[in-house]
Amino acid sequence: MPQWVNEDMGATSLAFDCDAELMLRVRDGDGASFALLLDKYRVSVAHFLYRMVQDQAVAEELAQEVFLRVYKSRESYEPSAKFTTWLYRIATHLALNWLRDGKNERGQERLDDVAEDGPVREVADRTPTVEHQMVRQVKLEEVRKAVAALPDKQRAAVLMHKYEEMDYSQIAKVLSCSESAVKSLLFRAYETLRVRLAHMA
């Protein structure tokens, strides 16, 4: 653990309940507050990035970059928006750039290909049989591919709406567009998914 992280942070951790307040403390040099924010959001940020790029190694690298940038920009941090809005703007910016650069380099969409990190993980099944598991894996693969086939910004909107449970206003702030634009993005995205996943009823 680096020197700037206070090792007895556990004792003070319950005193904070506001992310922006924590970030202001990070700005003032409090490493323990950074550790709290990291513990609180690293999993959700990494999962969001995984579902965006669908490559676990890339998602972890991008998640590291997100928190590195949070740390590096601590001195200029101003709580003008919710901390999570700011956090997901950084994450989305990095993911969209990675996807854009990847498409430029490879000349085609790669997310729709076979996943590079093995079978898709699923929510634990209480009655697993081999056949049942295989059927579920096939279905999950279809879900993954359907999400991967969405345009990048529609995918980001759906992931924030579905998994991060953000409201339209927050998604709009993350994506720097209007609420009505977000609703349009979501309706188009879900319409595509309804067509592709209709047989799962």
């Binding site: 653990m1 680096p2 700037w4 990291l38 690293r42 999993v43 999962h47 995984y50 579902r51 972890e60 998640a63 590291q64 928190f67 590195l68 940038r69 740390y71 590096k72 920009s73 200029s76 101003e78 700011w86 703007r89 950084i90 989305t92 969209l96 996807l99 854009r100 898709v120 993980r121 699923e122 929510v123 279905k139 999950l140 879900v143 993954r144 999400v147 345009p151 990048d152 910004k153 759906v158 709406h161 579905k162 998994y163 449970e165 993350v174 994506l175 720097s176 567009c177 634009a181 609703k183 349009s184 993005l185 979501l186 309706f187 879900y190 309804r194 996943l197 209709a198 799962m200 009823a201």
Partner: protein
């Protein structure tokens, strides 16, 4: 209420309802409407299929050394923070000057082997890389500042909607 699909009014209620996120009052209004509107009822049924399918998809767990790797990276950038603070206002105009000075020093070193400069070229290589690293760090900070101040320019144009 007007049909959310036909009128486009409050159509997000359908998404919220399918996700179980609509408040009680609006839920009651929408349910009354759906009793008479098969279009909306079908929308909700299909949207719930999508919602349930998405719910089954979990992400892989993070590597156990995620924090360690991050703190290692932070430790690497930490020593340069004082450079940023001290040199930020001066750095950019100084880059070409510094490059010119390095070239002159390299020339002097090549032509005067007894001038007292270290013959260790790896040392010189490290020094010549440092300005680029600081420059990159400043670029990152600049991007973040722009991201915070003028969001439309960045995420707004990255991808077509």
């Amino acid at each position: 209420m007007n049909c959310p699909i036909r009128s486009q009014e409050n159509r997000e209620w359908l998404l919220d309802y399918s996700a179980g996120r609509l408040d009680r009052e609006r839920t009651a209004m929408l349910e009354r409407h759906m009793e008479a509107c098969p279009v909306c009822a079908r929308f909700v049924a299909e949207q719930r299929v999508v919602w349930d399918a998405l719910s089954q998809w979990e992400s892989p767990e993070l590597s156990p050394d995620f924090n360690r790797r991050l703190y290692h990276k932070i430790d690497q950038v930490q020593p340069s923070s004082w450079v940023e603070r001290v040199l930020r206002p001066l750095w950019r105009p100084m880059v070409p000057v510094a490059a010119a000075c390095l070239l002159i020093l390299a020339g002097v070193a090549l032509h005067t082997p007894t001038a007292g400069l270290s013959p260790d070229t790896s040392h010189a290589r490290v020094e010549s890389v440092e300005p680029e690293q600081v420059e990159r760090t400043l670029d990152d900070l600049q991007m973040l500042r722009e991201l915070a101040l003028t969001p439309q320019e960045h995420t707004g144009t990255t991808q077509p909607m």
